[in-house]
Amino acid sequence: MAKVIPRKPLTLAERTYLPQVLGGLKTTFKRMVSPNVTLEYPEERPVIPEGYRGVPTLVKDPDGREKCVSCQLCEFVCPPKAIKIFPGEIPEDAPTAHVEKAPRDFQIDMLRCIYCGLCQEVCPEEAIFLQEIFSVTGYTRSELVYNKQKLYELGGTLPDRHFKWEKKRQAAERGHQH
């Protein structure tokens, strides 16, 4: 059984629509004079806060040595399994031979990356950082699989607080008992 709800008759002010029109105009004029909240992206760029988790990148130490030693822990921990590492040996005559290993190639599939930052957290060498880049574009799938060179370009150099491999080299020079 349908229930009949009687319609309340409109008042005179409501019937003229004027209070609503004026209310709308008030909001419009207020916004015309208040400061902007949007950015004219891409000409204007947002300020990236400290600790922002953007695109994962590889970094070098102040001596220009690639910090990654291809231990593959980030590949291991990555939830969407977006990382692919080909470990390699550093040749024995290289100046950084004491580090033993560096990636032959290091690929991150940016289409798969979920920016969780677990790679940065797990890295025992402080070699991978999620930095401020947030916009990734390309025309093909393969363009968006970033290789080692691209990741180092994006990453740049970060200060090293530990110099752990330098300590290893010094110990080797000091020690060498047989």
């Binding site: 030693v69 291809s70 231990c71 593959q72 822990l73 590949e75 291991f76 990555c78 969407p80 399994k81 977006a82 990382i83 692919k84 470990p87 390699g88 040996e89 580090v99 033993e100 290993k101 690929q107 599939d109 289409l111 798969r112 025992p124 060498e125 799938r141 393969s142 699989v145 752990k164 290893k168 110990a171 080797a172 000091r174 020690g175 060498h176 008992q177 047989h178």
Partner: protein, 899 residues
């Protein structure tokens, strides 16, 4: 039932074992380093500390090392005792004062016993502030990488290398904090079992150098159970792969065969499967390929169509099998061409040798021994075979056998054999009887009671003399020199006095009389009521499998083609240039209208093929090998062969015009084999069939931590591809599958929670060091039968060297004599250059010194090689490197003319 108590729980007492072994066998986690089931206890690392109580009234107890206390009835221990726990934690802490924090660059990382034990004990904070001691590393050859800083001084490496494997060039140097494990100088580790250091070392001091070429963490390896294809012993292996290539080979525990150890050939030869000489596409004759347009290699379907056309036109088809191809592949070929036109792929002489060996073993009162039985024998006679070079793992087993007799003698002292130091003290230099009769010095001579170096004929005469000395009814040897006769009597005496005597021989010298002599010895022992073992080493992984299918010798195939009764040949995984003389093979190919070759790698024979089909090597295929013991064992592909590569039996199955369905699966192939050869019916039971499921799921080849699954194909597609399906095996090419430990024939990984290293194997055995849980894989097809056998009596005349002539003797080398392993780069680095080996007397006579060039005419063709002088080689014999391409295809026995 007498019991002991661990943490208040009663377990059955096992007084012949130690508490550590018993605890681990019951699934309790107790950390350890220096103990190894095959090496015994020394109590050096102090890691397995537990609290032991005198009786139920004792509440204080004392800390003891579990590995040094027998699990006698009434023993009460606590693993979870607070003080014992702290003790174990501080042991790790002190090991960690010097262990580098370089797990990220360490190859052992992720499968490191030290990592596992550190986590297990709970040590996590470093309190020691001082620098770590460092060492210089050594170059240890192409197999092993050395990183001494990681050492925790457990001494397992030298205990394995020196005490177990008989190596001399690895030792412990210095003392206290500076103990150094290495060689006296840089250089390749000489022992043929050095690769086991990788698995024996609980941390990353010794790691796989070949793995560094394509490093992959353990959790990323896709692994499958396989059988080593590089000799006839059938050692069980775990092959690991990633990105479409084989990455490494690990030992897969088999209680009766390889136990914990592999030889270096089996471990490091895998790289041949990754080389550019691998065949990846069919090759068709030019006219057929041309219409496809340039560039595109022919597909499998085109190749099959082309072959079918040729087969229809053919005026006579023959098939040449191979002892290195699986049982299924050989059978598929035999079925394709018919039994009358199936050839074994072996030359006349070798074909006959294999037939004789099979005849000796199949109806024999003496048992064909497993490697374990060899290690447990207490008197061994090796007749003519240089085991270290032809069947290396067997030499390691023989080396253990010499401790059996002393072990029985010190048993009266009433201490368990696993107390390694006490055992060594009690035994001192006492060694059990091992008699070696060989042409040249062997790497086992240092362990032998007595050795005889003589030409093959004289070795056989010695063998017959031993048999006669054991049982006077065995034929006597006329005109035997007194020295050999005396040695024969000594050997016979030792074998008769033993509880488990053993005679080993083989076909490597291509001397039939040696097999007869060995058989006589074994049978004579049986007639005298001794439970004798009789083992015969054959050249290749499936020599017995191919031999059991029959097949005519190669010579008859040549004759058939010569007489125009055949114009088409299908050659299965066989390089004929290694089997016969080059000119004969050339002539054979010239006469053939169509040559169809299936092989995994390029060989001299594939170069002569009109149609070439890419076959999958053992690491990418499924099949059955029959080992020299007579054991049928299944191997599974670690990778699906990339299209159009396929197993040979699959190719051959497709070629059958009418039997489309009968031979399309391996299972169907085995059923057909069983129907035709009831003797081989057991081969079907060698491993669970394709329909086997555990808790409703197949066994995964990848680990549960397998990473990069979606990233591997990311540049190609957004979709994660469906993993390849395996319709032949109860294994999957993915990480999805059962999480329960599978039967031993299907084990793909050794992993258990908290146990990431190979030591997780403890969790896969019924008891630590015992058989695999659920039984060891493989089916023995050859069992002893108590049938009367007439003694062999073809005793050869004594050897006489003749002026200007020499008897050519094949000298085998562990790294180089086997066809496929010599292709692997690491093995090739250890392969010595080809040379003629001369006795000092012969060299002096011809005025030759080490390194001079010697020319010997063989079949009228001069062969020039540098000279190497072997002091033990008998006069009149010239050793040539067996299996080297320079000298392939020599039919033995033969003589050479000095030039």
């Amino acid at each position: 039932m007498p019991t002991l108590t661990i943490d208040g729980v009663a377990y059955p007492a096992e007084p012949q074992k130690n508490l550590l072994q018993v605890s681990l066998s019951h699934g309790l986690d107790l950390p350890y380093f220096c103990w190894h089931p095959a090496l015994g206890s020394v109590g050096a690392c102090r890691q397995c500390a537990v609290r032991q109580y005198r009786d139920e009234n004792d509440s204080r107890g004392q800390i003891v090392m579990a590995c040094m206390v027998p699990a006698t009835p009434g023993t009460r221990i606590a693993i979870e005792d607070e003080e014992a726990r702290l003790f174990r934690k501080s042991v790790i802490e002190w090991l960690m004062t010097n262990h580098p924090h370089d797990c990220p660059v360490c190859d052992e990382g992720g499968e490191c016993h030290l990592q596992d034990m550190t986590v297990m004990t709970g040590h996590c904070t470093r309190r020691h502030r001082f620098p770590k001691r460092t060492f210089t590393n050594q170059y240890l050859g192409p197999f092993i990488n050395h990183e001494m800083n990681r050492c925790i001084q457990c001494y397992r490496c030298v205990r394995f290398y020196r005490d177990y494997a008989g190596g001399r060039d690895l030792d412990a140097f210095a003392s206290r904090n500076h103990v150094y494990f290495g060689r006296s100088e840089d250089g390749a580790l000489e022992n043929e079992f050095s690769g086991n250091l990788i698995e024996v070392c609980p941390t990353g001091v010794f790691t796989d150098r070949t793995l560094k070429n394509h490093y992959t963490r353990k959790w990323d390896l896709q692994s499958a159970p396989s059988i080593c294809p590089h000799c006839s012993l059938g050692c069980n292996t775990l092959v690991g792969a990633r990105y479409g290539g084989v990455r490494r080979v690990l030992n897969r525990y088999h209680h009766h065969i390889n136990g914990y150890f592999l030889c270096d050939r089996g471990r490091f030869a895998y790289e041949f499967a990754n080389l550019p000489i691998r065949l990846r596409h069919p090759v068709l004759p030019r006219p057929a390929a041309a219409k496809d347009g340039a560039g595109r290699p022919p597909t499998a379907a085109e190749a099959i169509a082309a072959i079918r056309t040729r087969l229809r036109r053919s005026r006579g088809l023959i098939g040449i099998g191979s002892p290195r191809a699986s049982l299924e592949s050989n059978y598929a070929l035999r079925r394709l061409v018919g039994p009358d036109r199936y050839f074994s792929g072996l030359p006349q002489g070798e074909s006959r040798l294999i037939a004789v060996a099979l005849d000796i073993l199949r109806d024999s009162p003496a048992r064909s021994p497993s490697l374990r039985e060899i290690a447990e024998a207490d008197a061994v006679l090796v007749l003519g075979e240089d085991l270290t070079q032809t069947a290396p793992r067997m030499a390691l087993a023989v080396r253990q056998s010499i401790l059996q007799a002393p072990a029985a003698r010190v048993a009266a002292l009433n201490f368990p054999g696993w107390m390694a130091h006490a055992f060594q003290n009690a035994v001192q230099d006492d060694r059990g009887p091992l008699f070696i009769a060989s042409v040249d010095a062997t790497r086992l001579d240092d362990a032998a009671t007595a050795v005889l170096h003589a030409p093959p004929a004289d070795l056989a005469r010695f063998g017959f003399a031993v048999a006669h000395a054991i049982d006077p009814e065995a034929p006597p040897v006329p005109d035997l020199d007194p020295e050999t006769a005396d040695l024969a009597n000594r050997a016979a005496e030792a074998l008769l006095a033993a509880d488990r005597p053993l005679v080993l021989s083989g076909t490597s010298l291509h001397h039939e009389a040696l097999l007869g002599a060995a058989a006589n010895c074994g049978w004579a022992l049986c007639r005298r009521g001794r439970p004798a073992g009789l083992g015969l080493v054959v050249p290749e992984a499936n020599t017995f499998g191919a031999g059991l299918l029959g097949g005519r010798p190669l010579r008859e195939a040549y004759e058939l083609v010569e007489s125009h009764q055949a114009d088409t040949a299908v050659i299965l995984e066989n390089d004929l240039y290694r089997r016969s003389h080059g000119t004969d093979v050339d002539r054979f190919f010239d006469r053939l209208e169509t040559t169809i070759v299936l092989d995994a790698v390029q060989t001299a024979t594939t170069a002569r093929a009109d149609i070439l089909l890419p076959a999958a090597p053992a690491s990418e295929s499924q099949g059955t090998f029959i080992s020299q013991e007579g054991r049928a064992q299944r191997f599974f592909p670690v990778l699906p062969p990339t299209d159009p590569v396929a197993e040979s039996w699959r190719w051959l199955g497709h070629l059958h015009p009418d039997e489309a369905r009968a031979l399309r699966s391996q299972e169907a192939m085995l059923i057909a084999i069983a129907a035709e050869f009831p003797f081989l019916a057991g081969a079907r039971e060698a491993a669970p069939s394709a329909t086997f499921r555990l808790n409703g799921a197949a066994v995964p080849r990848s680990s549960r931590r397998f990473s990069g699954r979606t990233a591997i194909h990311a540049h190609l597609s957004v979709h994660e591809p469906k993993p390849p399906e395996d319709s032949e095996a109860p294994l999957t090419f993915s990480m999805e599958g059962t999480t329960t430990a599978p039967p031993a024939a299907l084990v793909t990984h050794y992993w258990a929670p908290g146990w990431n290293s190979v030591q997780a194997l403890n969790k896969f055995q019924d008891e630590v060091g015992g058989p695999n849980r659920g039984g060891d894989p493989g089916i023995r097809l050859i069992e002893p039968r108590n049938v009367p056998r007439a003694y062999h009596n073809a005793i050869p005349p004594a050897f006489n060297s003749r002026e200007g002539l020499c008897t050519l003797v094949p000298l085998h080398h562990s790294f180089g004599s086997e066809e496929l392993s010599r292709l692997a780069p690491a093995i090739a680095k250890r392969t010595p250059p080809a040379a003629f080996s001369l006795s000092p007397a012969d060299a002096r006579e011809r005025g030759l010194g080490e390194g001079d060039t010697l020319s010997i005419r063989i079949y009228g063709r001069p062969v020039r090689l540098p000279v190497r002088i072997h002091p033990q080689l008998p006069r009149g014999c010239v050793g040539f490197p067996a299996g080297w391409p320079d000298l392939a295809g020599i039919h033995l026995p033969t003589e050479g003319h000095f030039e």
